[in-house]
Homo-oligomer: 216 residues x 2
């Protein structure tokens, strides 16, 4: 643990990870004294961390009440997946128009390299590749604000996507869909890239629907 300053930042990351990885389930209470004890700090930095997590949408806070991990309703989850599809489509379109030669080449290499993971059925590794692939798309759009929005949305959706690659045949399907996006981008065909990216997310959304918590 770094001695200085960033104590709160570390707690934010740690707690966010616990939420995203499902260690803290939606509805779980986060009381300040327990967290303070757990991280061996006083309540002051805990409160600041909770405030930041609240601003990130990961927890809900009400006056004089413990913070609780936000219970994403099915309706809101659906709206996030739809928004994610739109954002991915924007990134793919802009990437098709704006990626440098190097970025295009790197994207294609990243994609081609993943074919062996598909054949090997290496879910964990493919998941890492998948993150890298999409991040390249987000960066390739060359729009910082879009990058922020898509990154945040992706982070909030993470807990609901974790198991998606466990579904049979999902790896091959994902690879095929990635291929369509790559092809369109290499051709600088913005419309095709956008459509391919949109339907890619759409399908992931359907596959993950079973993991949603029931609405309140």
């Amino acid at each position: 643990m770094i001695r200085t300053g960033t104590t709160v930042e570390q707690m934010v990351r740690a707690i966010a990870d616990m939420i995203v990885t499902g260690e803290l389930l939606p509805g779980a209470k986060l009381d300040e004294v327990s967290l303070a004890a757990r991280f061996d700090v006083s309540r002051t930095p805990v409160r600041e961390a909770l405030r930041e997590l609240g601003a990130m949408g990961l927890i809900a806070r009400e006056p004089n009440r413990s913070a609780v991990v936000t219970n994403v309703t099915e309706a809101y989850l659906h709206s996030m997946f739809e928004a994610m599809a739109e954002l991915e489509a924007i990134c793919a379109r802009l990437s098709a128009e704006r990626m440098t030669v190097d970025e295009r080449r790197a994207l294609e290499l990243e994609h081609r390299g993943s074919v062996r993971l598909v054949h090997a059925g290496a879910e964990e590794e493919y998941s890492a590749h998948n993150t890298e692939f999409h991040t390249r798309l987000y960066r390739g759009a060359h729009n910082d604000h879009v990058f922020e929005m898509v990154t945040q949305t992706r982070a909030r959706l993470a807990p609901f996507r974790r198991a998606q690659f466990r579904l049979p045949g999902r790896l091959a399907k994902s690879y095929e869909e990635h291929g369509r996006i790559v092809t369109a981008i290499m051709r600088a065909d913005a419309a095709a890239a956008g459509q391919a990216a949109y339907s890619h997310v759409e399908i992931v959304s359907d596959a993950s629907a079973v993991f949603a918590t029931p609405g309140e």
Copy 2:
């Protein structure tokens, strides 16, 4: 001032307003003791408010250094306007597909009612109508997450748009562009609505470019 609980929230709103209205210029330091004195509270709630403002992107914070009002670079500002155009386009498309009959009627009435403000040259009032008009579009998309993103982006762009309606002929132009959006939505023509909304923002972006602060 409400006695209980929401002290921090009020400070967040107050400080955000000061930044958005230009009372606090980019680069201005926000030291905790002065703010505490100004709002007549201790430093603890001030710190929490600053953390939240940091999460909102309105101020930048570094360890052991005073918070400073963020100086949005021209590049980032441009990315926000572009993102805004994309988000407005999404809302317009979805509104064209999903708005209820009542929502469509209300949008059209809101639009038609504004024609007298254009003729009167009532800039302030038209600005209020404009906000209402766009908010209807955002709600009409029936997607909560998109609504959040577009609302946040709009809030962050607010300081750079304030003077836009002062430009000669801008009111009439805005009205005309709104009309195109409304027509497309009444026809449930998603593509046309999206394009009309996109170019609407694009033009506003150009008009506001002169108000951007120079990049660092």
